[in-house]
C-alpha cells in the first residue's frame, strides 16, 4: 500500500468496513417503541401534538386536554366596558390549600421553568400549576424560536394530570385576557379552563347560562409576568368569563363555546361494546396489520387502533351528544414510494346522529365520495358510524393535512350537518 495517500486508504477502509453491516428486521418497531415518551415515577406522560406545544395526558386515567386556541373551539368576545362598575359579585371561593408540587415529568424536561412554579387551587382536588418555560434545545430543533412559553398542568391526585405549553401571548388593552386550554383532569364530565390575564386583572368570574357564578383562582409567581387563572367548568355548553380589576370595574369578558372537535383523551379500552369498522394491512405507518374499532364512552365516540405507536391506541374521541350531527377524521394507513413517497390507503371515518343516513366527503379540487351510515348498535343510542376510502390524490406529498369536509345528508341528498375532518390527536 506504499505510495497511496492515507486519505484514500482511509476512505477505502471505512467503506469496506461499512459494507459489513445490515439493519435488524425489527429495527423500525424498536424505534417506535423507543419513541414513546417515558414519564416520571408517579405516572407516564404522553406527548400530544396540538399545534407547537407540549400537551401531556396521563394514560392511567381519563385526562384530556383541549387546546382551545388550536382547535378554534373558543369564541372570544371582547366587551371592553372599562369605566362601568358592573362587575358581577364573585361567588364565594372555597379553594383548598395548594398541595405539594407533583412530579411534572416530561413537560418539565421539554420546557424547563425559568420562572417560579406556582399552584392555583381550582377545587378541593384540582390544582393548576403554572410557570414560564424555556423550550429545551435538548428536545426541540435548534431552529425553533426560543421564545419563552406559558406552561400549565392541571393535576388531580388519583385521576391524572394534563397540561400544555404555549408561546406567551402579548396581552394589552385590546386583549387583556385569553383562554389557553381546557383540560379534563379526571372525567369527561369535568372541565377546567385555564388562561392568562394582564396584571391589572384581580378577579375572574365564570357565569353559567343558568346564572350560576363560579369564582376562578388567579395568581402569579416570581418571573411569570402575567397572571394565570383557572376555573372549573361544570358544563360543556359554554360559559362567560368576566375579568375585573381591583376597583371592581370590568376589564373584559370572554365567551367560551363548548369545546368541540377532537380532544386528546387516553382512556383504557373498554372490554366490550366495540364496533369493528375496518381493517388495514401492515405498512410503514402502522405497527402491524390491525383494525379500527369504535366505542361509546360517556357520550363520546372513541376510535381505537393499535396502528400507531402512541399511548393506548386511542384516536381523539368526539363528543357526539350535540352538534354537529356528524364528525370524523381522515387517516392514512399506508405509505408508497413509486416513485416519490406519499401516504396511501386513506380512510375517512366517523360518527353520525341517528337521522343522518349518508355522509359525503368533498374532495379537494372537486368531486366527492359518499358513505352510507350504519347503526353502531350501542344500547340506548341511535348513533351511527361511517367509513369510506379516499383516493390517494387527496393527500399529496407536500400537504400536511388536506382540507376535507364531511357533510351529513338526508336520503335525498339534502345537507343536515357539516364538519371538517380532523387530524388524529394522539
Amino acid at each position: 500500500m506504499k505510495g497511496h495517500p492515507i486519505e484514500d486508504r482511509l476512505r477505502d477502509a471505512l467503506d469496506a468496513h461499512a459494507e459489513t453491516f445490515s439493519a435488524s428486521p425489527d429495527a423500525w418497531q424498536r424505534v417506535q417503541r423507543k419513541s414513546e415518551v417515558r414519564g416520571g415515577p408517579r405516572r407516564s406522560a404522553r406527548a400530544g401534538w396540538v399545534a407547537r406545544h407540549s400537551a401531556f395526558v396521563i394514560p392511567a386515567a381519563a385526562a384530556a386536554t383541549v387546546a382551545a386556541l388550536a382547535l378554534g373551539a373558543t369564541t372570544l368576545a371582547h366587551d371592553f366596558s372599562a369605566g362601568r362598575s358592573n362587575a358581577p359579585r364573585p361567588a364565594t371561593a372555597t379553594h383548598a390549600p395548594v398541595p405539594a408540587k407533583p412530579d411534572f415529568g416530561k413537560i418539565m424536561a421539554t420546557d424547563p421553568a425559568i420562572s417560579a412554579i406556582f399552584g392555583l387551587p381550582v377545587t378541593r382536588n384540582i390544582t393548576t400549576w403554572n410557570w414560564i418555560g424555556q423550550p429545551s434545545p435538548e428536545y426541540w430543533f435548534p431552529y425553533i424560536a426560543t421564545r419563552p412559553e406559558a406552561c400549565h398542568v392541571v393535576s388531580e391526585p388519583g385521576a391524572g394530570d394534563s397540561g400544555s405549553c404555549w408561546p406567551v401571548p402579548t396581552l394589552n388593552a385590546a386583549r387583556p385576557a385569553v383562554v389557553i386550554a381546557s383540560d379534563y383532569p379526571g372525567q369527561l364530565s369535568s372541565l377546567t379552563i385555564s388562561g392568562l390575564a394582564e396584571p391589572a386583572v384581580t378577579s375572574v368570574t365564570e357565569i353559567l347560562r343558568d346564572g350560576q357564578r363560579i369564582s376562578a383562582t388567579i395568581g402569579t409567581g416570581r418571573g411569570f409576568g402575567l397572571k394565570a387563572w383557572s376555573v372549573r367548568c361544570p358544563t360543556k355548553n359554554g360559559t362567560k368569563l368576566v375579568f375585573a380589576g381591583a376597583d371592581g370595574r370590568v376589564i373584559t369578558t370572554l365567551n367560551t363555546a363548548a369545546p368541540a372537535g377532537p380532544i386528546v383523551l387516553d382512556v383504557p379500552r373498554p372490554g366490550h361494546g366495540g364496533v369493528t369498522m375496518f381493517s388495514y394491512p401492515a405498512s410503514q405507518l402502522t405497527t402491524g396489520a390491525g383494525s379500527v374499532t369504535a366505542y361509546l364512552i360517556d357520550q363520546h365516540v372513541a376510535f381505537f387502533s393499535s396502528a400507531f405507536f402512541r399511548g393506548s391506541g386511542t384516536f381523539s374521541p368526539f363528543d357526539a351528544s350535540g352538534r354537529p350531527a356528524v364528525g370524523g377524521m381522515a387517516v392514512p394507513f399506508g405509505y408508497v414510494c413509486a416513485p416519490g413517497c406519499r401516504v396511501a390507503n386513506i380512510k375517512a371515518f366517523g360518527y353520525a346522529h341517528g337521522d343522518v343516513p349518508k355522509v359525503s366527503v368533498r374532495l379537494p379540487g372537486g368531486g366527492q365520495v359518499v358513505a352510507n351510515t350504519y347503526p353502531a348498535g350501542w344500547p340506548g343510542s341511535d348513533l351511527r358510524l361511517w367509513q369510506v376510502t379516499l383516493p390517494d390524490s387527496v393527500w399529496p406529498a407536500n400537504v400536511s393535512q388536506p382540507d376535507l369536509i364531511a357533510t351529513g345528508e338526508t336520503a335525498t341528498g339534502l345537507p343536515i350537518a357539516q364538519a371538517a375532518l380532523g387530524q388524529p390527536q394522539m
Binding site: 500500500m1 506504499k2 492515507i6 486519505e7 486508504r9 482511509l10 476512505r11 477505502d12 477502509a13 471505512l14 467503506d15 469496506a16 468496513h17 461499512a18 459489513t20 453491516f21 445490515s22 439493519a23 435488524s24 429495527a27 423500525w28 424498536r30 424505534v31 417506535q32 423507543k34 419513541s35 415518551v37 406527548a47 401534538w49 399545534a51 407547537r52 406545544h53 386556541l69 388550536a70 428536545y139 426541540w140 430543533f141 431552529y143 425553533i144 424560536a145 404555549w166 408561546p167 401571548p169 402579548t170 385569553v178 410503514q284 405507518l285 400507531f308 387517516v331 392514512p332 405509505y335 414510494c337 413517497c341 401516504v343 400536511s400 393535512q401 387530524q423 388524529p424 394522539m426
Partner: protein, 177 residues
C-alpha cells in the same frame, strides 16, 4: 391568536411519514456511522437517534435538516456512552476485524484487508472527537460546516481534529508499511 397560528406545525402524521421515509433511506448509514465512531451497540444508538427524531416529528419545519439532527444525535450518543465506559479497550470485535479464518482469494486481497485492519485499529485508538471528525469527513464526505454542526463545534475545530487525527493515524502506521 396569531402567535399560536404562526407556530402551528405539521400534524403528527406528516412528521411520522417523514421520519419513516428517512429511516428507510438512512438507517443503515446511521448504524454504520455509529459503529465507525466506536459504538458498542450501533443499532441501538441509531434507533435511539431516530426515536428522538420521532418525538420531535410534529415540530419539523425543514425536513432537509432532519438527517443533520439524526447524525448529530448519533455522534452525541456515542460520545456520551463512551464516557460511561470505565475501561477503554480496543474494540477489535466491534470493528468486525476478528474475522477468524477467512478464505483469502489472493495475496492482494490479503494485503488490502490487512491495510484496512491496521487503519481501522488505529482509528479506534483515536480520541473520540478526532475519530468523529475523521469518520464524518472521510466516510460521509461531509463539508466542514456540516461536520461542525454534527459535532457541535466550530469549523476551525473540525479542521484541527481532522488534521491531528490524520497525523496520529500516520504515526500509528509508521513502520508498519
Amino acid at each position: 391568536m396569531a402567535d399560536v397560528s404562526d407556530r402551528r406545525t405539521a400534524p403528527p402524521h406528516a412528521g411520522a411519514v417523514l421520519v419513516s421515509g428517512l429511516f428507510r433511506d438512512r438507517y443503515p448509514e446511521m448504524v454504520r456511522l455509529a459503529d465507525l465512531l466506536g459504538a458498542d451497540d450501533p443499532e441501538d444508538i441509531a434507533q435511539e437517534a431516530f426515536a428522538r427524531l420521532m418525538r420531535k416529528a410534529g415540530t419539523l419545519r425543514d425536513p432537509a435538516s432532519a438527517i443533520g439532527y439524526v447524525r448529530s444525535t448519533v455522534c452525541n450518543l456515542v460520545r456520551n456512552r463512551h464516557r460511561h465506559l470505565r475501561v477503554v479497550r480496543l474494540r477489535l470485535g466491534s470493528l468486525g476485524l476478528a474475522r477468524g479464518h477467512d478464505e483469502m482469494s489472493s495475496e492482494h486481497a490479503v494485503m488490502v484487508r490487512e491495510d484496512h485492519r491496521q487503519l481501522l485499529t488505529a482509528l479506534a485508538a483515536l480520541p473520540a472527537r478526532r475519530r468523529e471528525a475523521i469518520v464524518l469527513r472521510y466516510w460521509l464526505d461531509l463539508p466542514e460546516r456540516e461536520i461542525a454542526a454534527a459535532m457541535g463545534v466550530s469549523p476551525g475545530t473540525v479542521k484541527s481534529h481532522v488534521s491531528r487525527g490524520l497525523d496520529a493515524l500516520g504515526e500509528a502506521l509508521e513502520g508498519k508499511l
